[in-house]
Symmetry: C2
Subunit: 229 residues, 2 copies
């Protein structure tokens, strides 16, 4: 493995947008527990138990299609993310959630929203979080739908890059634990296509990839590709 890549994303979570908005909610948080890599946290159709807060690691939420056995990944959960937002007010979780890396989690337990003995203010906070995540989803949706594979993948790297920047890590050198197949399922393409485009990006000097380690060499170039149809 090439050691010129810096992999420094293993410290505990710091500030994330969710945290400031959710102070009240977090007082309900139960003790932190560890989930080994490639372990299922939530199975498909499981009863809603509350929200999970990710402290470390990486998880994926996926829907399995009945017809074929290929999955579609609807979310990656990074440290600071809340798992289950799309199931608040529902009886069951949607899809299944599995850890990609060994992850640290805590459960914010409530079976129904009414069980939360919290104030009007925190309800508004919840509303705001839901609303924001809805808009993000929406944004991601039409991007994925209407853009070429090239711009989707370029945008993916840009998003990852700013995620690391927000958390105080280098935005230009990071490790993504998910496999090519996972990235492909997230962006709705074949893993071969992901490989091919990454190779091309490397030839064009946009980035360097070594296994799961990535170096962003030309952020502007990537941004240009992400923005064009």
């Amino acid at each position: 493995m090439n050691t010129s890549f810096t992999s420094s994303n293993n410290k505990s979570i710091s500030a994330s947008p969710s945290f400031n908005d959710l102070k009240t909610l977090l007082t309900f948080s139960q003790p932190l527990f560890t989930l080994r890599k490639k372990t299922t946290l939530i199975t498909n159709g499981e009863k809603f138990k509350g929200l999970y807060l990710v402290h470390s690691g990486l998880l994926k939420q996926s829907q399995l299609k009945k017809s074929s056995e290929n999955e579609i990944i609807t979310h990656f959960f990074f440290p600071g993310d809340l798992i289950g937002l799309d199931s608040i007010c529902e009886a069951h979780y949607s899809g299944s959630v599995t850890s990609i890396e060994t992850s640290g989690l805590s459960l914010i337990k409530f079976s129904k929203i009414e069980d939360l003995p919290i104030t009007k203010t925190s309800h508004i906070q919840l509303l705001r979080i839901l609303s924001r995540s809805m808009r993000n989803e929406h944004n991601r949706m039409w991007r994925t739908l209407s853009q070429s594979s090239d711009s989707r993948l370029a945008y993916f790297f840009i998003t990852m890059s700013s995620k690391f920047r927000e958390q105080g890590y280098s935005p230009n050198a990071f490790r993504l634990p998910m496999s090519r197949q996972d990235i492909a399922n997230y962006l709705c393409m074949a893993s071969e296509t992901v490989s091919r485009i990454i190779s091309r990006f490397e030839n064009e000097g946009l980035l360097a990839a070594n296994g799961h380690e990535y170096l962003i060499l030309n952020p502007e170039g990537l941004a240009n590709i992400a923005e064009k149809t």
Copy 2:
């Protein structure tokens, strides 16, 4: 025009899921007003003013892509639907909303969520509505992303059919005021593709289309196509 098609969807709205959940909210509803066909209700980036309740007609919400001039339609709003749910807790609406048919609307006015002097119960109702619409969005998203054009269009007709059934109209004979182009933009395909598939469905005896009037002849057949990849 073939008169064997029954077009009976011009009575006022009846029960819709939203209504039971939103009684409190609806007390804020301002007087009903009329919007002529092909008129803009919300321009892109407009300041958030509140939710609009659709009483009659049909509207579309769309994002325009800067690069090309083709739009992507993110929502159709039928009677009983609320416009602006994805912008609650935001300063601005997302995208623009335009009437396809002459429509009757009322505004539920509030600039910020805090302005709503409503109870904890109604906040929970709002949360529930947001949550549900988030899940529906999600569902639609992965469908559109991962299914073939055939199954997307088949699913579209099935969805429309059950929408009419829910509102007490015939699920097998209805009028859809939107153009082929609108349907295409909603499903993220070319209008030619919509035409072609509809023609094929007609040849296969699944449905009959005459302008904007549609007859569902074989719901099970359509459902089969919708369910397969």
